[in-house]
Amino acid sequence: MSSLLHLNDQTRRHFFGQCGVGIGVIALNELFTRDSIAKHTPAINPAQPMAARTPPLPGKAKNVIFLSMAGAPSQLELFEYKPKLNELSGKAPPKSLLEGKRFAFLKGNETLLGSTRKFGRYGKCGMHLSEMFPHHRKIADEVTWLRGMTTDVFNHGPAKLFMNTGFQAPGRPSMGSWVTYGLGSESQDLPGFVVLQSGPRGPRAGNSLWASGFLPTSFQGVPFRSSGDPILYLKSPDGFTRERERTFYDTVSKLNHIRMRKTGDPEILTRLNAYEMAYRMQSSAPELMDTSKESDKTLDLYGAKRGEPSFANNCLLARRLVERGTRFVQLYHTNWDSHGGPGETLNKDFEKVCKDADQASAALILDLKERGLLDETLVVWGGEFGRTPMGEIRKTIGRDHHIDAFTMWMAGAGVKKGYIHGETDELGFGVIDGKVHVHDLHATILHLLGFDHEQLTYRFQGRDFRLTDVHGKIVREILT
């Protein structure tokens, strides 16, 4: 037996010794026997894989809310004021810019496209924001603006996977899985990693975006649906009242205890805990979704209407989730894919999705701040890539996918307030200063949570995998 596996056994024995079920013998839950030898490998209590764990390093953030703007918002219509681009609108882009570049749909003959949106500078930091995002003015001095984001892949599915898992093909654990693997969750009544969705359709690549990959399934994201049962199979079958369910769960528990005495298998204890949490979730999840006790003022802040699914409502739910101890909340909002085709124009359709997202995103920051939650919550906002300075000709003129420069923002625990990081060239084509690659973003998020991104690993097929693969640099400039 290698020393690592032995160590695991010791941990388990220690745990089972404590839990007082009177079993001196350990049957191992097969899941947790193969953790890597890295220092930061979390010590997971197999009967409570989601129990809260302390990070190895002091971390400023306890929770993460990731607002995924699915389809990729145009930074040039929102955050990047480029008079030169406006001036050269309609002209061919300099050849040198395009050399060696690949795009999803552009054919090579497209011309530069200026933005028709009006920009102003806001906050003490003087961040450029367009008229499309009036509510963001209120948080200009609350967030760190990352104007130098870059990524590697220019198709939606692979790029979303890359943003979520650090890898462009499906099969790796998502960021939320890594985080809950490392930290567990403060809530024992709700899942530790929750996914919410709004907009006309679900995000491309579906559940591989919140899958746990090779990490134990306990760490996969749990989608909360906005209509019907928030969690699949949450509702008891017809005819089973809450009291009847208590009797049912008690009976199951008695039978499981009998079997545990007979077989001596402590894995049954994990099952008992899982059933108890299931029972609790049946009341805690509807309670979470029920916003009727939120004040009108709060609802107005978000622009949410009671009982109406929307991005605004999901932002409010995100706050309620972290309030209740959920570790990682991810919101997807579609559709930002402004190619110019039907439903995806840069004018009417873009205006609609901006309106969906602007107020609620800003409100989330303000609300978290007011409640004292922003100090321990990290909020991340952005798409899977950006959009090209060249126009793309469809039914109307839109913009294609752009991986070399786009804008995201972060706010909350450990991140500077009102700080602009990164700058692009005068056409918004490439980053000239403060480049932040997706891997760097991941490294920084893990750092803020108290992990060295090189040390939070999981051994699978002989290799120690990590969220940042073999890359990633912490963006120290943006840290408080």
Binding site: G24, N155, A169, S208, D238, R244, L255, I258
Partner: protein, 935 residues
């Protein structure tokens, strides 16, 4: 940093005991090297520091300028030892910035001893040839190896599990279904010494064996029913799934099983079934998103094929070498691209590629267990046709004989077709029967005109008043492999029905018959009926003698699925080589846009460290060479990896725990002798999977009780020595299948199109596009879970909840988690509620009598059906109390009782509250840990 000699002594290690047990390089030294040193001092030249290489003895002994890392026999002169024990952080190895922990004192001591013992290297155990093991003849070989280790540790094996546990374990492990109470009692009462062995044999012969073990294989084949990525539309790959089930049921030797899947299309005279097998590597993803570069996803798929082949057969992550030479294992980047070159010549490119048209049951030769045919279904009554004319297209003669058959003669032309017009006394016709009959005038007696007496009927058509009728189903008493009778109704002139075969039980040149059913009965009174038989597939393979009959009643579907309408063939994606080979280059960092042309072209080739090189090398090598290399008996990895995975399914863990990593960082085998014995015997037994299963499950080791033993707590807490069996949760699919079998609602039909059981609304809210999910009707929805259509982006919820992989990449072993969502699924999913209701109604029906009086008997029967054993006194009491309180409760709340029954009416005069309480009991039993656990 320069690697300078350190001038310190080894006094630090002084005072340690002097007695030196022999240090084993593979056991003691290699793991430390692999984990702490090789990242910088390993095979990867680019990452190598100070030009020092420790993975080879030559490298470790190399002169570094007057000193060496290792001086055999002389620890004091070995720089390596100094550097791992120094207190100077500047000199320490591994250096602090590597973030690797420093070696412990005992690890350093191992190095010291190893160096003084001569610092001998060993090849990595997994790449060494299989060793010869000769266990004594009077002991079961598995038990011999296991017990030897137990004895060494002064441990005794656990007692044999009781027969209840054994039969449930065997059923779940071998066929994935539960035994019925009758099967249990038969086994319990079987006094014969061979009772257990007989049970094993009957289960290995059970066609559900192919499903159970096929599912394990399909995990590795990353089989799914959709394209993956964002759009994720449905695809039709299920004929491949059927191929796998069938191959396992036939006990196809594993070497052939391998060759057909990797390169069946390249075999000489490849059959349709062999071509279909290559769908294995077409299970790769397809990105249908607009604007995606097909070349990018072609390369992705090709890499996935290389990586999957490496993981499945070799147990190695060769994928690491796609960007750089492997850091820990002896796989160079060039070798990776040599493997890549085997697959780089495939014709398919992202979403277009070769297919083969396959009929619904074409790949399942042995008809599945016949669906329970109700005796009330009328049998067809065949009435001979009344021929009014019979001729061939070329004008040759068909002679009518006394028995109403038609005989052809030598005037028949090549590819000739037969046109027969006829009437019938029937007023409606539902089916047509074609009988083929031998005759002395035909070659070898017929019934066909081919030299061996065979024929190939490419198509049969039925016209009524000149209008072609839809022939929905075809069945035959016998079909030659790859020449299923369904090919006679697939409108494909290049496929057809034939009757000779290679099997020993196939009688050549015998009479046979095929029946063809219409979609619905057709009125024929006074109408002209015409039957056309065509022979387009082969020049001179016409039928020699035949007769036609009609029936007003269609034959019961046996090999055809019930009520799914016409079974049109589907286009199965398969592998095919391009005519002009693609050039292969190393790809810089695995990036398809950066081929490294300077390093020159790469030709197909194998990995040198593993097995003897390919017979053919250079440009001419193809997938067939690769396949043969994989199963070359001199390749030790394939048999080791394969038997290890089989072992893992039976004990919850492989003899090599890291079943996916047989490389240098993987774990060492717990019982190396047993692993090699099984591997060698597997080859010697002609790669028979069934023999391997039989060998393992008949051992006393397998039959042990799984109850946790207190006396092992210190000596073997992880049960690595197997002094007991393991207890583990069932796979996702088997949880559903177990509930289906307990309720008696299982539809056992094997193979064919996927099914869509009811699923909650809103499943696709989180995907880009909605998937077609029209709920399967009738008994279809009660088929086994492995037939549920699998969308990669949004699987049927049961799968994700219970750790089924999402099949984006190969999965060689599944995780087993234990989560609250699992509790919610079994407790609340309407599908499980329906089966709980089924179980309750079943026990009411099977145990007649007064409800209150029979409550105990009914509960006991439900426990027997679900858990395969009678309830213990305390369990029975718990369930009885629960039932009683529920009866009381439901007596006051009739509406609730009604909702539990959902309109079903209990038999034997049972009241609704009584019946509903049993539904609640059945639901409770399904939710116990015991139900979803194989003990």
């Amino acid at each position: 940093m320069m690697f300078r000699p350190l001038l310190i002594t080894l006094a630090l290690l002084a005072g340690l005991p002097a007695a030196e047990p022999l240090v084993s390089f593979n056991r003691d030294i290699r793991p430390i090297l692999a984990n702490r040193c090789l990242q910088c001092h390993g095979p990867d030249e680019k990452k190598r520091k100070s030009d020092l290489r420790l993975d080879t003895r030559e490298g470790a002994l190399a002169d570094l300028g007057g000193y060496a890392a290792i001086v055999p026999g002389n620890p004091d002169a070995s720089e390596l030892l100094k550097r791992i024990i120094t207190r100077d952080p500047e000199e320490l190895m591994p250096p602090g910035k590597s973030k690797k922990p420093r070696l412990t004192k005992s690890e350093a001591l191992l190095f010291k001893q190893w160096i003084s013992q001569g610092a001998e290297y060993q090849g990595h155990w997994a790449f060494e040839p299989l060793s010869n093991q000769q266990p004594p003849k009077d002991e079961h070989p598995v038990d011999h190896f296991i017990r030897k280790k137990l004895t060494e540790k002064s441990l005794s094996p656990a007692p044999q599990a009781d027969r209840y546990t054994l039969i449930r374990r065997l059923y779940l492990d071998l066929i994935g279904l539960l035994p019925s109470p009758e099967q249990i009692s038969a086994f319990l009462n079987d006094q014969s010494l061979q009772a257990y062995e007989n049970l094993v044999d009957s289960l290995l012969d059970n066609p559900h064996y192919g499903e159970r073990w096929g599912r394990h294989w399909l995990d590795q084949a990353r089989y799914a029913d959709s394209n993956g990525y964002s759009i994720d539309s449905e695809r039709q790959m299920w004929p491949y799934r059927d191929w796998v089930i069938n191959a396992l049921n036939q006990d196809m030797p594993f070497d052939r099983f391998t060759i057909e899947q990797i390169a069946g299309d390249l075999l000489p005279d490849a059959t349709r079934s062999q071509i279909a097998a290559t769908a294995f590597h077409r299970n790769t993803l397809i990105n249908q998103e607009g604007g995606s570069d097909p070349e990018q996803f072609r390369v992705e798929a090709t890499m996935d094929r290389v990586n999957t082949t490496g993981a499945v057969w070799l147990g190695l992550t060769i994928g690491c070498a796609q960007c750089h030479t492997h850091k820990f294992d002896p796989i160079t980047q060039r070798e990776y691209y040599q493997m890549f070159a085997f697959f780089n010549n495939a014709e398919d490119r992202n979403n277009t590629g070769p297919t083969i048209s396959i009929g619904e049951n074409e790949l399942i030769h042995k008809p599945a267990e016949r669906a329970k045919t109700s005796p009330s279904i009328a049998k067809p009554d065949w009435i001979p046709a009344d021929y009014t004319s019979h001729r061939t297209a070329s004008g040759a003669t068909l002679t009518r004989l006394d028995d109403n058959s038609l005989l052809s003669d030598n005037t028949v032309g090549p590819n000739d077709s037969y046109h027969v017009t006829t009437t019938t006394p029937l007023s409606v016709v539902s089916a047509l029967r074609l009988r083929v009959i031998p005759h002395e005038s035909l070659p070898r007696g017929g019934p066909g005109r081919a030299k061996n007496g065979n024929f190939v009927l490419s198509d049969i058509k039925l016209l009524i008043d000149g209008k072609e009728q839809d022939l929905a189903h075809a069945a035959a008493d016998h079909s030659q492999p790859d020449y299923s009778v369904e090919h006679a109704i697939d409108n494909n002139p290049q496929s057809g029905w034939a009757i000779n075969g290679a099997g020993p039980d196939t009688k050549m040149n015998a009479p046979h018959e095929a029946t063809f059913s219409l979609e619905r009965p057709v009125k024929v009174k006074g109408k002209k009926i015409e039957v056309r038989l065509s022979h387009e597939r082969n020049l001179n393979y016409q039928i020699g003698r035949f007769a036609l009959d009609f029936s007003a009643i269609a034959p019961a579907a046996n090999s055809s699925p019930p009520a799914t309408g016409k079974t049109k063939p589907v286009n199965l994606m398969v592998m095919r080589e391009r005519k002009s080979p693609r050039e292969t280059f190393l790809l810089t960092r695995g990036d398809f846009t950066r081929p490294d042309r300077e390093k020159g072209k790469v030709f197909p080739g194998s990995i040198a460290a593993i097995a003897p090189p390919l017979e053919k090398v250079g440009e001419t090598g193809n997938r067939l060479d690769l396949a043969r290399w994989l199963v070359n008996p001199a390749n030790p990895l394939t048999p080791r990896v394969t038997v290890n995975r089989v072992w893992m399914r039976y004990f919850g863990r492989g003899l090599v725990e890291t079943e996916e990593d047989f490389g240098t960082r993987g774990s060492l085998p717990s019982h190396p002798g047993l692993l090699d014995y099984l591997a060698k015997r597997f080859i010697r037994d002609g790669w028979s999977m069934k023999n391997l299963h039989r060998l393992i499950v008949t051992s006393a080791t397998y039959r042990q009780s799984s109850t946790i033993r207190k006396d092992l707590a210190d000596k073997d807490p992880r049960n690595l020595l197997l002094a007991r069996q393991s207890r583990f949760r069932l796979d996702a699919e088997i949880i559903r299948d177990a509930a289906l079998s307990a309720s008696g609602m299982l539809e056992p039909r094997i193979g064919g199109r996927g099914i869509r059981p009811p699923q909650p609304a809103g499943i696709y809210a989180f995907t880009q596009s909605r998937k077609g999910w029209s709920t399967s009707k009738g008994s279809e929805r009660y088929r086994r879970a492995m037939y549920i259509v699998f969308f990669r982006s949004s699987p049927y919820p049961l799968f994700g909840t219970f750790d089924a992989p999402d099949f984006q990449t190969t999965c060689t072993s599944r995780a087993r988690s234990n989560t609250p969502l699992q509790a919610l699924a079994i407790a609340n999913d309407v599908a499980f509620m329906e089966l709980a209701r089924g179980l309750a109604l079943r026990v009411i029906n099977e145990v007649p009598g007064d409800a209150a009086a029979q409550r105990e008997a009914r509960i006991s029967r439900a426990v027997m059906l679900a858990l395969g054993r009678p309830p213990g006194m305390d369990e029975l009491e718990t369930l009885l109390n629960y039932a009683q309180s529920m009866v009381k409760d439901f007596n006051k709340d009739g509406a609730a009782a009604k909702s539990l029954l959902q309109g079903s009416l209990p038999t034997n005069g049972t009241s609704l509250p009584e019946a509903a309480s049993l539904v609640a009991v059945a639901r409770t039993i399904f939710n116990t840990d015991n139900f979803i656990t194989r003990e």
